[in-house]
Amino acid sequence: MKPLLTVNDVTIRFPAANRLAARLSGQPRFIEAVAGVSFALEAGKTYALVGESGSGKTTLARAIVGLVPTHGGRIEFNGERISGLSENRLRRVRREIAMIFQDPLGSLSPRLKVRSTLAEPFTVHGETAGIERKIIALLEDVGLPAHFAERYPHQLSGGQARRVAVARALALRPKLVIADEPTAGLDVSIQGEVLNLLRDLQAKFGTTFLMISHNLNVVRHVADRMAVMYLGRIVEEGNTAAIFAAPRHRYTRALLSANLKPDPDHSAPLIEVEGETPSLLKRPSGCEFHPRCIFSLAVCKQQAPKEQIDAGHRFSCHNPG
């Protein structure tokens, strides 16, 4: 089966905040927020990008929808190159790829009623026939009563705003939906509602999801496959169940061990990670995780590990678990 989305060796660079200062101090003038990332998404499935702050997962997602330019590699959607397209040529693809942003309230235009927000995808793509009926149907799809169309964003709760954002993303029945931290900032009791909603819609419309999250507990339940990112690279990729059962990269293991269990009798295992994520301006040598890794070997400092593949499970580590 051909994948719906393939990301092939994609690199994304940003200019360093102060270029003059960078030049004076001899620091690099660019940071690589995403450095040579490859993965493929199967249609109808949910794929998760996991990583901590600064891992480049949000940047990568934004590059896929064309909000951020790429500097290398290739992104293909449905077998067609979509990286490096002009805004005009991208517009057609944008019917097929929708994005749900992190901040439920912030992603809704504050001066527009829910009605206008939901009408926007149709108006933009010139499908204004029966728009009123479509809006009501969308609200119904996400479990909101029709009178919510008259509300302004500030009159919605966090969960309701999230539902409206989901409704807008699904308005044109896109093939791919990218959800950036869909549960971040929501209470546990509402997290479940949003996840259920996304799953229902996937079952109903066969939508493919690319989910960005730092919450491993959520990822374990919803994703079919996942990739773990560190400093803009994928360090481990594979079947979600396989990775949770037997993580190979030391960073993945550390991440899993840091996932505190809500169980008083379950004491967290030994911490397998030290310190903090280094700055992208000063990438460590060799394996970029080595300064924080308690299992690091001499070779880790000098040589970047090669990617190994083991039954569809990829990882780059000199001393895998």
């Binding site: 901590e52 702050s53 709760s157 966090g158 209470d187 546990v188 009791s189 509402i190 997290q191 479940g192 509602e193 996840l195 259920n196 799953r199 730092h214 919450n215 491993l216 507990n217 959520v218 374990r220 339940h221 169940a241 550390a254 991440l255 061990s257 840091a258 996932n259 505190l260 269990k261 809500p262 169980d263 008083p264 009798d265 379950h266 004491s267 967290a268 911490i271 990670v273 030290e274 903090e276 994520t277």
Partner: protein, 327 residues
């Protein structure tokens, strides 16, 4: 010497704020006791009154507070109604606080050395002694090159380091009570574990009590001995962490635990949820505060539920508290 082991005794505390829509009853009849050297967690979702609870204890309620009743006895003295001067004597000396966001909690134009020395103004020690103590505590929170970094400013530290500085500041005066307001929420998971471990080590070292406020059940289970569950301005259940996590008696606690994906061991397609919304705290409904969203509600829930004692130290405010045992 009435209660030698008691440090903090919050008794029937109620707080209301004036808003344009009417008086918002942020806390209602909250009672919570803490012993010396104890680590108590407070769990609650947004809008449950956690911040109001903290602000009441440190006497920094906002200007629109319109009603404050009950008692907060700290080492025998009542904080409610205490004069500002006396309150300030407690704050930063016997009660210290760590706030949620380390990125904004430190003054950007003062070096960390200055800020940490400034809070020792009550001590009669020499400047050199104060600096020595500052370095000692920065080393305790594992700040590398502590002495060299005294002259640096907050923006020169990472988020995790800033939170360590905040912890060092909070423990510098060897307080009796440390209030930690979601200290790990803004941090990455790998840092969260480090900070929690650090907090527990230092707490053992110094012997203070810790009031740990969080919405992260895992963090509470890892760190605390006792826990109180708050919902919409009330403490609905409290007890030892083991009792609450193993045998929750209030339907809200049960639901909350059920919803946490970290507790759901087998994979499932449909995630559990608590339906409905928080009640309006300006127009409080009669009876049980959780009634509208409760799966176990029955007629008697329109009356205010009594606080039932399940076992020593385990109390739940529910009519069915005795019946709702785990199988």
């Amino acid at each position: 010497m009435a209660e030698p082991e008691g440090l903090l005794d919050i008794d029937n505390l109620s707080v209301s704020f004036r808003t344009p829509r009417g008086d918002l009853q942020a806390l209602r009849n909250v009672s919570l006791k803490m012993g010396k050297g104890e680590i108590v967690g407070v769990i609650g979702e947004s809008g449950c009154g956690k911040s109001t609870l903290i602000n009441s204890i440190i006497g920094l309620l906002p200007a629109n507070t319109c009603a404050l009743s009950g008692h907060i006895r700290f080492a025998g003295e009542d904080i409610v109604g205490m004069a500002d001067r006396d309150l300030r004597r407690l704050r930063g000396e016997r009660i210290t606080t760590i706030f949620q966001d380390p990125m904004t909690a430190l003054n950007p134009v003062l070096s960390i050395g200055t800020q940490m020395t400034a809070i020792q103004y009550r001590r009669n020690s020499s400047p050199r002694e104060k600096q020595r103590r500052t370095v000692e505590f920065l080393e305790k929170v594992r700040m590398p090159d502590a002495e060299k970094r005294l002259g640096q400013y907050p923006h020169q530290f990472s988020g995790g380091m800033r939170q360590r500085i905040c912890i060092a500041m909070a423990l510098l005066t060897e307080p009796d009570l440390l209030i930690a307001d979601e200290p790990t929420t803004a941090l990455d998971a790998t840092l969260e574990v480090q900070v929690i471990r650090l907090l527990r080590e230092l707490q053992r070292d110094i012997g203070c009590s810790v009031l740990f406020i969080s919405h992260h059940l895992g963090a509470v289970a890892e760190l605390c001995e006792r826990v109180a569950i708050m919902y919409a301005g009330e403490v609905v259940e409290q007890g030892s962490v083991r009792d609450i996590f193993r045998d929750p008696r209030h339907p809200y606690t049960r639901k909350l635990l059920e919803c946490d994906p970290g507790r759901i061991l087998e994979l499932r397609a449909v995630m559990p949820t608590i339906g409905g919304d928080l009640p309006d705290l300006v127009h409080i409904p009669k009876g049980c505060i959780f009634r509208e969203r409760c799966p176990d509600r029955f007629e008697r829930c329109s009356e205010r539920p009594p606080v039932e004692t399940i076992r020593a130290g385990h109390r739940a405010a529910c009519h069915k508290a005795r019946e709702l045992a785990n199988p």
